[in-house]
Each structure stands twice: as C-alpha cells, then as structure tokens.
Amino acid sequence: MLSYIIKRTLAVIPTILLVSIFVFMFVRVIPGDPAALAAGPDATLEARELIREELGLNKPILEQYRNYIIEIFKGDLGTSLKTKRPVNYEIGLRYMNTVKLAGVSLAWSAIVGILIGVFSGKNRSKWQDYLGMTTAASGISIPSFWIGLMLISIFSVKLKILPTVGAGTWKHLVLPAFTLGIGIAAIIARFTRSSIIEILKEDYIRTARAKGLKERWVIWKHVFRNSMISVVTVIGLQCGFLLGGSVITESVFAYPGLGTLLIDSVNFRDYPTIQALILIFALHFIVINLIVDVLYAVLNPEIQLG
C-alpha cells in the first residue's frame, strides 16, 4: 500500500507544476499592460514604472517564472496591490475562517447526503425514494446566492435569531454553512443512492439476506460498507465545489474568508493576490484529491493487501 501512496503522490507533481505555470501565465495573459492596469488610469509614468519594477515585469519571462517558483517555496506570495501588505498576511487573516466554514459545511452535508442517499436507495421507486430524489434535484438547482439571501431575510431580518453578516461565533456559521452545504448534500445523496442501488443487486447481498440478517444490518454493514468507497471519492470531488461555492456564499454573507478576498481582489485588479489565491485553491483541491485516493486504498482491501 505504501507504494500505492508514493505512486499517487508522484503522479500529482506534474499536475502541480502545470498548475503553477498556468497560474503564472494567467496574470501575464491580460490584454494590456498589467503594470498600467495595476497602477490605475491616473498613474504617472514613474508610478507605472515603479509598479513594473515591483512586479518584476521587466525581466525575461523564464527568469520571472524562476523567481516566482523560488518565492513560493520561500513562502512569499507577493504584496497586495490594494493594501500594500504581504499577501501571506491577508490570506493568513482569513484562512481559518474559510476552513471553518468549509469544514462545517462538508460535515453536515456528508452526513445528511449519505442518510438521504441510503434512505432513497434502499426504498427504490417507492415514495421515500421519490421524496429523497426530488429534494436532491432541488438541492442542486438552488442558486446559493438566492437561498442565502432568502435565509437572511427570514432568519436574520424577520426572526432576528441569527446574525446577518460577519464571523466570530458559531451563530455566524449556521446560515453560511447551510447555504454552502445544500448543493453538496444533494450531489452526495444522488450518488450514494445510485451506489446503494448498484450494490443491492450484487450476489453477496443475496448471500447476506440468505443468512437471515436483519435488513438494517444488511444495508449498513454489507451494502454501505461497499458503497463507502465510491462515496468517499465523490465527497472528495465535491470539495472543489466547496471551495468554489465558498466564494459566493462568503460574498452573500459578507463572511471574512478567502472567497471575499478573491472577489475584492478581482474588483480591485489586485493581481498578486488573485494569483496567490487561485494557486492556493488549486493546490488545496489537488491535495484533497490525493487524500481521497489514499483513503480509497485504505478502504479497499484489495489495494491494501494486494
């Protein structure tokens, strides 16, 4: 199994490299002069040149890339054009907020999604299935910014039991986590359901029933244990959706996380920050998928021992 982990990790490295090149090229693909754009329309020639120096745009492209990579390894992600503070600092302020939000959202949506999926899957074509799947279909169709605003309207404005914006207490997490998790719970539910239905057709489930095991035992110990492998994979993939969705949800709730930072940076044309954030999002996604791959090996005895 160790060799499997090592192989997977090595396979990821070229992707990371390509991602870094991609992100690097990103900023330099902007039509027009990035220095001029960063400096703003009213900037003087000197100011523009200064910014060009700052951003290192004078040097040959390969050297720029080399410096870029070196700086990343050193942990230096540049300086924010907007606040003039290190990007690291800006990110550091908000990182944990986003992690908390993402974590809570993932936790509740995985649990609810799995429960609905199993509930629907084992009652295929009956009312429970219909109910579960209609809920799930709605869940993936709901625009998060719409439901977010509606929830604010009901819970913060009318009922006044939850805060509208910001972060700090657990109460601040409730509505954003719910909003962010809806789409994910729905997808997990749908996927779990089809996995359960597939597994129920297997011969070994017939054997389990032939042994006289209680239906609930059959579903959770035999069926789900097999579905779990693919369900975990899907949850991992959803983390991408989580990272992306957090951008919108944070914006709706004015939640001080990496998502709002990205939006602000885009509106301000703060390229160093945009660049750093995109890189961070991508890297997180890649690492999460790697973890999922490893989990897959852990849960699948054939890979673990074979």
């Binding site: 011969d203 054997t207 029933r209 032939a210 006289g212 095991l213 849960l299 021992l305």
Partner: protein, 333 residues
C-alpha cells in the same frame, strides 16, 4: 420398494411464482408440488429457465430485489405454512433453519469484510453465543471442511481465496448453524471438475455428520446420480417427473427426462453425433397449447397438443406428467 416412513421436512404445494415485468407476466413457477423427506437429498433437475432456482428463492423469500412474487400455494415447514408468516418471521428461518448456497462463489462473498466476520455473523444472529464461542465454532467448522490454516483464513478477504475455497466457505457459512434444510443452487457448476468432486464429497460427509436434508438444484444428471436420493425434473415451471434416483435412471417415464439422459455422452460408446433434444425452450410469451414439451417431443400424440397432462402417479410413487403414462396405465389415478 421404499416405504415412505421418513417424515416430510418440507412440502411445497401448488406453488405459483410469477414475475411482473414491463413486458407482461412471466409464470416462472406454475403449480409445483415438491416434497423433501427428512435426512434425504432431493435433486431438482432442469434447464435454465425451468423455474428451479426461482423455486428455491421462493422458499427462502429472497425475491425482494426482483419483480417476482409467490401468488399462490403453500410451503409447509415445521408444521407451518411459511408463506403466511410475516417477513420478520421468515427472515428468522433463513440461515438458521433453512440455509442456501449459490452458484457463483466468486461473487457471493462480501469483498470488503473478512471471512471470519462473515461466518460468525450468522452464528451470532441465530444462536445465543458469545463472540469467543462463536469463533471456536467457526474454526471447528472450517476444519471440518478441510480448510488449512483456518486461523489465518479467518482474517483474510475473499479475493485472497480460490473459487473452490470460497465455495467451501459458503458451505461452512450455511451449515454453521446446523440448519434443518440446505438448499444448494448449482453449487458446483462454476467450479472445475476436480474441485466439483471434492465439494460433492464434502457435502455428503457433512450431511451425514449434521443430518441436514438437502435440496440440490442442478442441470447435471451426473451429479444427481452421485449425491441424490430422490429426483424431481422441472420443465417450463412445472414438475414433469419425480421419483427416487434409481427409478429415474433405470425406469425413466417422461420423454423430456429420457431426452436429457440420452444426450449425456457415455464412456465407451461409439457414436457419430451426440443426441440432443430438438427445438428450444419455449418463449414465455408464446407457450404452446397443451403439454409444454409437446413441440419437441418425439413420442407426442394428438392429445398432447390439446390438453395439458395431469401428474400421473404409479403405484411405486413414481410420478410423470405425460399422457403416455396414462395410456400405459390405462388411466390410473
């Protein structure tokens, strides 16, 4: 001449199991009477589609993932009609009193659970034992079925075992609770011939040791000759012949059974072509009128294509669903 002194442990009476598909109703089992005597091995023989597996699944109430239901009939076990029991009561019988093993050992074990776990599950469910006691019973059973290094196998996963070993595990799993009846649905069909012989030998031994009555479903008459005491032949969802194993081979009555026997190549025989039964099993949507076997029957007479024959019983208990038998006996019973 055998006296029916032994008790009947299972009686299937006039059972009809139909499948309700999008394309219509398929009458998989269409009025079947089967009796299993205590301590004996009953062979159920037939081609694919004859309804033999469905009969077994009906007894076990394992039709839940399918579109099949038992629409009529009784299954008497232990004095009760199990079809009238609740799903919960039927479940309690499964595994504990009536056990079943299946044809495909490669896919019949859960790939992500350890072997030991899968066997002890059954014991813990049906008997009141502690985990430690259960483990001992399992090891004991594994030794009985000649699995070497039983202790180690307990901690392994199905993919680490061969087909023959997996089938032994299935047998162990089925017999570990000392069931009164074991239904074996083509347990050796998917195995090599040499392994097949081992498994059959094993089943005979265990049967003597534990005293289980066996319902052995197969299409292989050689296996029937090897292990069965009584035989029942099925065609198109009905029983067409039933007798003890000697009578079936030496005194075959039904043309279908005769055809099956004739198509087995015999050692030492010099023939140019193997005999076969002409035609195909009829399409369920286009069942022939009268006797279902008549289109393929060499001995068919005019009444065969008009009326479905009844099940005629000879004095020695040999039964056959054929008008020729009535003719032979001048209309007895």
């Amino acid at each position: 001449m055998t006296e029916n002194k032994a008790k009947n442990i299972l009686e299937i009476k006039n059972m009809h199991t139909y499948f309700f598909t999008d394309n219509g109703v398929v009458k998989s089992v269409d009025g079947v009477d089967i009796t299993l005597k205590e301590g004996s091995t009953l062979g159920i023989v037939g081609e694919s589609g004859s309804g033999k597996s469905v009969t077994a699944l009906s007894v076990m109430n394992l039709l839940m993932e399918t579109k099949g239901r038992v629409v009529e009939g009784e299954i008497i076990f232990d004095g009760k009609d199990i079809l009238k029991l609740s799903n919960e009561d039927q479940r309690k019988l499964r595994g504990g009193e009536i056990a079943m093993i299946f044809q495909e050992p490669m896919t019949s074990l859960n790939p992500v659970l350890k072997i030991g776990d899968q066997i002890t599950e059954a014991i813990l469910l049906h008997t009141k034992t502690t985990k430690a006691e259960a483990k001992i019973k399992v090891l004991d059973m594994l030794n009985k079925i000649n699995i070497p290094r039983a202790e180690r196998i307990m901690n392994e996963y199905p993919f680490q075992l061969s087909g023959g070993q997996r089938q032994r595990i299935m047998i162990a799993m089925a017999l570990v609770c000392n069931p009164k009846i074991l239904i074996a649905d083509e347990p050796t069909t998917a195995l090599d011939v040499t392994i097949q012989a081992q498994i059959l030998e094993l089943m005979k031994e265990l049967k003597d040791m534990i005293g289980t009555s066996i319902m052995f479903i197969t299409h292989d008459l050689g296996v029937v000759a090897e292990v069965c005491d009584e035989v029942v032949v099925m065609y198109c969802g009905k029983v067409v012949e039933s007798a003890d194993v000697y009578s079936i081979f030496e005194n075959t009555k039904h043309p279908y059974t005769k055809g099956l026997l004739a198509s087995i190549p015999k050692l030492g025989e010099h023939i140019e072509r193997l005999e076969s039964i002409p035609g195909n099993v009829p399409n369920p949507k286009h069942m022939p009128k009268g006797c279902k076997f008549s289109p393929r029957c060499k001995e068919a007479i005019s009444i065969c294509t008009e009326k479905e024959p009844e099940f005629f019983e000879y004095p020695d208990g040999h039964k056959s669903r054929c008008w020729l038998c009535k003719k032979e006996y001048g209309g007895e019973l």
